[in-house]
C-alpha cells in the first residue's frame, strides 16, 4: 500500500520499543499509515509502559456551561449566542448549586466550569461563584479554558498571572486545556479568527502551570488542518510539557460539523483512533491520554483503550457545547464501568489530579 513503506516504519517501531523520542518526520509518517493493528500495537506498548496495571481511570464530574453568550463567533461552534440574542443565558447561582448538588449526590468530585466569552461577566463573578461553590461543596473546580482566561484578564484589566492567582485563591483547582483546536495560526485564522493565537494559548497555559494550576491539553482535529499541522500541534504541546510538566492529560476530539458555519464531514472512527494513537506515541512526556466519549460514543471510546488511551475522562450528565454540533453521548458511571470491564480492564475512579480514589 502506498505510503506504507516498511523501512521507515521499522525505524519508528524500533524507536518506540526502545523508548526513544519520535521526530516530526516520524509523526507525519504515522499519519500516513493505514495498518491499524500495527499502530494500535505501538501505542498500546507505550501505554503499558506508562501504566503497567491493566486499569482505566475516569472521574465523576459534570460540565456546567454557565453561559452561552459569546462574541468570538468560531465557525465550528453551534453553541454560542451573540450578546443581546434572545437565546443567550447566564445560569443563576441557584441553578449552579442545583447542578453541583446533583453531582455530589452521584458521588462526583469534579465541576467543569466552562462557557462563552461573555462581556458582562468580570472576575468578581467567577471569584464569587467559585467561593460560593467551594463553601458548600467538597468539589474540585476545573474551569475556564485559555480563551476565557485571556478575555477575563482583559476585561477585568488584570494581568493573566494576577487573574489566575485570584481565581486560584477563590477555589479554582485546574484548567481545562480546551480551545487549543490546532495550535497553528493558519488553522486558527481559518476557523476562529477572533480567538487567541497559538502563542497566546500556550502562554496562558504556561502561566497557569507556573502558578501551580495544572491543565489538560486538547486537540480538535478534522476541520481544515493537514496532517503536518496535527503533528505541529503535538510537538508544541510536547515542548511546553518539557518546560513545565503541568499537563495532566491529552484528549483529542473531532470537529462536530452540524449547525456550524464550516459544515463539512465528520472525521471517521479510523481517523480518530489513528490520531489518538499517534498522540500517545508523540506525547512521550504525557502520563495520560483520554478518550472522547462525548464525540465518539461508548463503542469507539472503548476500542480506543487499545490505542493508547488509559482514561475515559468524565462522566457526562449534560453538555451543551459539543452537543450543539451533533455529539450526543451521555456517560453514566455504570456504563463507563461496564465498558471498561468489558474491554478487559479494571475501572478506577480518579480525582481531577489523577489520584486514584477507589
Amino acid at each position: 500500500m502506498s505510503g506504507n513503506g516498511a523501512a521507515p516504519l521499522k525505524g519508528i517501531e524500533a524507536k518506540v520499543l526502545a523508548g526513544e523520542r519520535l521526530s516530526r518526520d516520524d509523526g507525519q509518517a504515522l499519519f500516513r499509515v493505514t495498518d491499524l493493528p500495527w499502530v494500535a500495537f505501538l501505542a498500546d506498548t507505550v501505554r503499558r509502559r506508562k501504566h503497567p496495571e491493566p486499569e482505566v481511570t475516569y472521574v465523576i464530574g459534570r460540565i456546567i456551561n454557565y453561559t452561552n453568550v459569546c462574541w468570538v463567533k468560531c465557525s465550528f461552534c453551534a453553541f454560542y449566542r451573540l450578546p443581546g440574542h434572545h437565546e443567550g443565558y447566564v445560569l443563576s447561582r441557584e441553578e449552579i448549586f442545583e447542578k453541583v448538588q446533583e453531582l455530589v449526590d452521584h458521588g462526583g468530585t469534579e465541576v467543569l466550569f466552562q462557557g462563552g466569552l461573555n462581556p458582562a461577566l468580570k472576575i468578581d463573578y467567577y471569584e464569587d461563584s467559585f467561593r460560593a461553590i467551594r463553601a458548600r461543596f467538597p468539589v474540585h473546580i476545573h474551569g475556564l479554558s485559555p480563551a476565557e482566561l485571556i478575555y477575563l484578564a482583559k476585561i477585568s484589566r488584570l494581568s493573566l498571572r494576577d487573574t489566575l492567582l485570584r481565581l486560584q485563591a477563590a477555589g479554582l483547582g485546574s484548567i481545562p486545556g480546551g480551545g487549543a483546536e490546532i495550535l497553528v495560526d493558519d488553522v486558527r485564522q481559518a476557523i476562529s479568527p477572533l480567538k487567541d493565537t497559538a502563542a497566546e494559548w500556550l502562554d496562558c497555559i504556561r502561566t497557569a502551570h507556573q502558578v501551580g494550576l495544572p491543565s489538560s491539553a486538547t486537540m480538535m482535529f478534522g476541520s481544515v488542518e493537514t496532517a503536518a499541522q496535527r503533528v505541529e500541534h503535538l510537538l508544541r504541546l510536547r515542548a511546553l510539557q518539557d518546560e513545565t510538566g503541568g499537563f495532566t492529560a491529552f484528549v483529542a476530539w473531532n470537529f462536530q460539523p452540524d449547525g456550524t458555519e464550516l459544515n463539512g464531514k465528520r472525521a471517521s472512527a479510523f481517523d480518530y483512533l489513528r490520531t489518538v494513537a499517534v498522540a500517545r506515541l508523540m506525547l512521550d512526556n504525557f502520563d495520560n491520554i483520554q478518550a472522547s466519549w462525548l464525540t465518539q460514543g461508548p463503542k469507539v471510546a472503548q476500542i480506543a483503550l487499545h490505542y493508547g488511551v488509559n482514561d475515559l475522562g468524565s462522566t457526562i450528565f449534560e453538555e451543551r457545547v459539543v452537543s450543539a454540533g451533533g455529539a450526543k453521548f451521555m456517560a453514566s458511571h455504570e456504563e463507563m464501568e461496564q465498558v471498561i470491564r468489558d474491554a478487559g480492564f479494571v475501572p478506577r475512579v480518579r480525582s481531577t489530579r489523577y489520584e486514584i480514589l477507589r
Binding site: 500500500m1 506504507n4 516498511a6 500495527w38 494500535a40 464531514k265 472512527a269
Partner: protein, 391 residues
C-alpha cells in the same frame, strides 16, 4: 508489505496461533475458546487481519441494495425480536405485490443491485404469495438480484406449498430468487433455542434447509446472533458447525455476525453489545471460518463507525446502502438512520485505507471496479477463489 510484529502475539499468549495462521492451518475448538478469552483485542484482530489480507487483500465489498420486510406478522414469538407482531395484533401488516412495487418505485432513480427480502413467519400467507412477490419484484427491477427468505421462511414456504423443499426452491428460483440471506441461524444451541426461540425451526432444521438450498445451486450466507444469553462455547460450536457444512456444500458466500439489540425486546435488561464485542466476533469468525470467502460487518447493527474499524479486524464486506430496514434500528442510543449514501460508504472504506469494490448479491464484481489488487493466496484452506457462480 505490511509491518508484522510477532511480539504482539507472544505478548497476548497467541504465538502458537500466529504460527498456525502463518502455515494456513485450520484452528480448533480449543483455539476458538482461547480467542474469545484473550483480553488483547488487538492481537486477535491483527491475526484475523492477516487472513483477511491473504484472502481479500485490501478489497472491501459493498452493494447498492434495498431491504423489504414484506410482513411483520410472525408466530414464532422470539424473545430477542422487536420487529414482530403476533397474528391478530393490530400492528401487523402484509405488503401486497403492488405495495412492494410501489415501494420500489420510490427508488426508481437509484442504482439497486440487490433486493434483500425477509420477514416474519406469517402462517396465513399462501404459497402463491411468495411466488407472486418474487415475480413482481423481478418484473419491476429485473437488473437487481433478489436475495430473499431466511431458512426459517423457506421451511414455512415449503409447508404452505405442501411440496418438497427442492421443488419449492426451483419454483422460487424461476420466479426470480437469486440467493438466500441465511439469517435466523441465531446460535445453534438447544439451550438457547429453548430459552429464546423455541417455536422456531430447530438447529438441525436450519442445517437441513441450508443443505437443500446449496444442493439446489443457490448460494446463501450464514449468520450468528450474539450478545444475548449465549456462551463462548456455544459460539465456537456454532461457527465450527457452519464450517463443517461449508466443507460439505461450498454454498456459503459470506458470514455475518449479528449483534443483538435489546431495545424493545423481552430482554431489555441485557446491555447493548460493546465495540470490543463487535470487533471480536468479526475477528473470530474470520479466523475460524477459513472456508468462507467473506466476512461482513453489518453497519446497521454495529454502527458505521465500528463497521469501518472492522475492516482491520477481519471484515471485507460492509453490506450496503440498505435504504430501508425495519427488523432492528441502527444502533447507538441516538441514531435511527437506516441508510448510507453510496458516497458515504465509499468514504468509510477509502478513508480506512481499503479499496472499495462494488458487488452484486452474488459477489460478482461490478464492471469498472476491477482494479482490485488481490494479494496472492497462501496454501491450505485459505486458498479459496471468490465464488461468482451465477444461478
Amino acid at each position: 508489505m505490511r509491518v508484522r510484529v510477532e511480539a504482539l502475539y507472544t505478548r497476548a499468549g497467541l504465538g502458537d496461533l500466529s504460527e498456525k495462521v502463518e502455515r494456513g492451518e485450520r484452528l480448533t475448538y480449543a483455539d476458538g475458546l482461547r480467542l474469545y478469552r484473550t483480553p488483547d483485542l488487538t492481537a486477535v484482530g491483527a491475526l484475523a487481519n492477516r487472513i483477511r489480507q491473504r484472502m481479500n487483500g485490501d478489497a472491501t465489498y459493498y452493494v447498492r441494495n434495498l431491504h423489504i420486510n414484506y410482513t411483520n406478522i410472525c408466530n414464532k414469538l422470539c424473545k430477542f425480536c422487536s420487529f414482530y407482531a403476533p397474528p391478530g395484533d393490530p400492528r401487523g401488516y402484509v405488503l401486497s405485490p403492488e405495495d412492494i412495487v410501489a415501494r420500489l418505485d420510490g427508488y426508481r432513480d437509484q442504482v439497486i443491485r440487490e433486493i434483500h427480502m425477509v420477514a416474519g413467519i406469517n402462517p396465513k400467507l399462501p404459497y402463491q404469495y411468495y411466488v407472486d412477490i418474487l415475480r413482481a419484484v423481478h418484473a419491476a427491477r429485473p437488473e437487481a438480484q433478489i436475495k430473499a427468505f431466511t431458512m426459517i421462511e423457506l421451511a414455512q414456504i415449503a409447508r404452505a406449498a405442501k411440496k418438497p423443499l427442492r421443488d419449492v426452491l426451483e419454483d422460487l428460483r424461476r420466479a426470480g430468487l437469486a440467493c438466500v440471506p441465511g439469517g435466523g441461524a441465531e446460535v445453534f444451541s438447544d439451550r438457547v433455542h429453548e430459552e429464546l426461540f423455541r417455536a422456531k425451526l430447530d438447529n438441525e432444521g436450519w442445517f437441513d434447509v441450508a443443505r437443500e438450498v446449496h444442493r439446489a445451486g443457490l448460494k446463501s450466507n450464514a449468520t450468528m446472533l450474539y450478545g444475548h444469553i449465549e456462551t463462548v462455547e456455544e459460539k465456537v460450536k456454532h461457527l465450527l458447525h457452519i464450517r463443517d457444512l461449508q466443507d460439505e456444500t461450498k454454498g456459503f458466500q459470506c458470514f455475518v455476525p449479528l449483534a443483538f439489540d435489546p431495545a424493545r425486546t423481552e430482554l431489555t435488561h441485557i446491555p447493548v453489545t460493546t465495540g470490543q464485542q463487535n470487533l471480536r466476533e468479526i475477528a473470530i469468525a474470520r479466523l475460524l471460518l477459513d472456508n468462507f470467502p467473506h466476512i461482513k460487518a453489518f453497519w446497521i447493527m454495529i454502527t458505521p463507525q465500528v463497521a469501518q474499524l472492522a475492516l482491520w479486524y477481519g471484515a471485507d464486506d460492509l453490506d450496503g446502502t440498505v435504504n430501508h430496514y425495519e427488523i432492528t434500528h441502527a444502533l447507538g442510543t441516538t441514531s435511527h438512520r437506516q441508510a448510507l449514501s453510496h458516497e458515504d460508504l465509499l468514504g468509510l472504506i477509502t478513508e480506512a485505507g481499503r479499496v472499495p469494490v462494488e458487488r452484486d448479491a452474488l459477489y460478482n464484481v461490478i464492471a469498472g471496479q476491477s482494479a482490485v489488487s488481490r494479494q496472492p493466496s497462501a496454501v491450505g484452506p485459505m486458498n479459496l477463489k471468490i465464488v461468482s457462480a451465477r444461478c
